[in-house]
């Protein structure tokens, strides 16, 4: 049985020729006709994710990867179609989202840990572990505004990896930190997989998809252009950077 089922999900946005965001603009523009252009970001996308599987999603900029992740995580509602998830998801769509620069690392870990769905007790128990993973024990009481961007990102990784429930949803976040820290993050990811976690990873990096995913999708123009093993899709993605992906064969439907 599929763990996560995405069934004919479509999502589009009406883009006005003239954006009106205030009451004043709406009143002054009453007599001025606006035209809207439909931007269809996702067009009847269907796929499944099985328990314990790591699914990669690749595609050029604007093909709908991030919108798809937001729908999977419940941030956006689909216009049509349905997402059925039989598991709790931990979205890591941006590292350190919501950091408060006026607070120290401990308070920020409490804040972001809560946002990511941890209880206060879980955060308190894991606090030392999180700070140690980020190598920030000595700076635990320093305000984040004094942190370098690398320190903030390390803390972001540490909290995100501690907060994982059943499904980890990652949007292009293996690309930060120095080589040593990146290796530790990759190691942590492998441990999570080994302990049975499911993962959905969006990345432009063919190495990441090939190394960490079992299967992958290649998106183009809001559709699944190709579905296959991670290595195949990573190679195909590299090829599409020099040729249109529409030449690719029709995507097989998930069994």
């Amino acid at each position: 049985m599929a763990f996560i089922e995405v069934d004919a999900v479509s999502k589009g946005f009406w883009i006005p020729t003239l954006r009106r965001e205030t009451v004043r603009e709406h009143l002054l523009g009453l007599l001025e006709r606006r035209q809207f252009q439909r931007l269809q970001v996702l067009d009847a996308i269907s796929f499944e994710v099985r328990r314990g599987e790591a699914l990669g999603i690749m595609g050029r900029n604007g093909c709908g990867k991030s919108t798809l992740l937001k729908i999977l995580c419940g941030v956006y509602l689909p216009d049509q179609g349905r997402v059925s998830a039989r598991a709790a998801m931990t979205p890591v769509l941006d590292l350190g989202v919501g950091w408060n620069p006026e607070l120290d690392a401990v308070d920020n870990v409490m804040l972001i840990g809560s946002v990511m769905g941890l209880t206060l007790d879980e955060i308190r128990r894991g606090l030392d572990e999180i700070l140690a993973f980020a190598e920030l024990e000595r700076f635990a009481n320093m305000k984040l505004k004094h942190y370098s961007s690398g320190m903030s990102q390390r803390l972001g990784y540490a909290v995100a990896f501690k907060a994982v429930r059943e499904v980890l949803v990652l949007d292009e976040i293996f690309a930060v930190g120095d080589a040593g820290f990146r290796a530790r993050c990759e190691q942590r990811f492998r441990e999570l997989r080994a302990s049975g976690h499911t993962a959905i990873i969006v990345s432009h990096d063919p190495r990441v998809i090939a190394a960490f995913c079992d299967r992958a999708l290649l998106l183009d123009g809001g559709r699944v252009a190709l579905e296959g093993t991670a290595g195949t899709i990573a190679d195909r993605y590299v090829a599409t950077l020099t040729q249109p992906v529409r030449d690719a064969p029709e995507a097989p439907r998930p069994s």
Binding site: E21, K70, V75, A88, G98, V115, T119, K162
Partner: protein, 268 residues
């Protein structure tokens, strides 16, 4: 150092979700408090100086005009502090989703939590002011009755319901109309004089009272004054009106919020 590789946990049951939400609410309130008041009691006391100084200025100016009313100062302090909660709570509630929008677009946070917690600081201030009012009343020989204190608590709850209702409705509308806060600032300036804060309602002809009572803070202020200062409980009809008023505000806000909040992230 390697993080412990926990096994996947089952979907959070209802109790687990409630614990997560309680933790999130507590953390948001705590961090907001720490940020706003620099994490010190001194910072909090400093923030109380604004409404206190406003009270002293207004008392200095208007107590001459209403010198014949021996309870004017007491009525002023009750009205002013209730108004301060209404103004601060609605202002921060209105912009709450936009201010914490990054949490809606990047994480899975129930939006109502962001709205409700944005009012917490105004609520903490109201509780402190309620103590100040109590001390002021006792010090001036107008110690309220137990029934008066209970009634005042109920009126404060009604005001909280009104503010929460407004915050829920306006927070999602603000994402679509980004100048609503400017309109609300103007409305608050007018509303300060529509509500009988610096003047006794009795100086106006009775035929206007009905219209002034439509403005939600008016019945809360008037009834609180009656219960605390005059020691008279309003009629049952008056209480029923306030209950209906606050429920209408809360339900209207909740309905607007439930309709518009599912797509709030798309407007950020």
């Amino acid at each position: 150092m390697v993080l412990a590789a926990d096994a996947p946990s089952a979907p959070a049951p209802r109790r687990g979700r409630a614990l997560q939400h309680a933790g999130l609410i507590w953390t948001l309130v705590r961090t907001d408090f720490k940020t706003r008041y620099h994490g010190t009691l001194g910072g909090f006391v400093w923030a109380l100086l604004k409404p206190m100084s406003m009270f002293i200025v207004l008392m200095g100016v208007f107590s001459f005009l209403f010198a014949s009313d021996p309870t004017y100062k007491l009525n002023l302090i009750v009205g002013l502090f209730l108004w301060d909660f209404f103004a601060e709570g609605t202002k921060s509630g209105l912009t709450s989703l936009q201010a914490k929008g990054y949490l809606l677009t990047k994480a899975r946070v129930p939006p109502w939590i962001l709205v409700v917690t944005s009012i917490a600081n105004a609520l903490i201030t109201l509780v402190v002011f309620a103590l100040v009012i109590g001390i002021f009343l006792v010090a001036t020989g107008h110690a309220p009755t137990v029934a008066g204190v209970v009634a005042f608590g109920a009126y404060c709850l009604a005001l909280v319901a009104i503010v929460v209702g407004f915050a829920l409705g306006s927070s999602v509308l603000f994402l679509r109309y980004r100048d609503l806060n400017q309109f609300w600032e103007v409305a608050l300036q007018a509303g300060f004089f529509i509500a009988p804060i610096v003047y006794p309602l009795g100086i106006l002809p009775e035929r206007f009272h009905f219209y002034l009572y439509i403005w939600p803070p008016t019945p809360v202020i008037e009834f609180s004054r009656a219960a605390l200062v005059a020691g008279v409980l309003p009629t049952l009809r008056g209480d029923a009106y306030l209950l209906l008023d606050s429920l209408c505000c809360l339900i209207a806000g909740a309905v607007i919020f439930s309709r518009l909040s599912p797509r709030a992230a798309e407007y950020l």
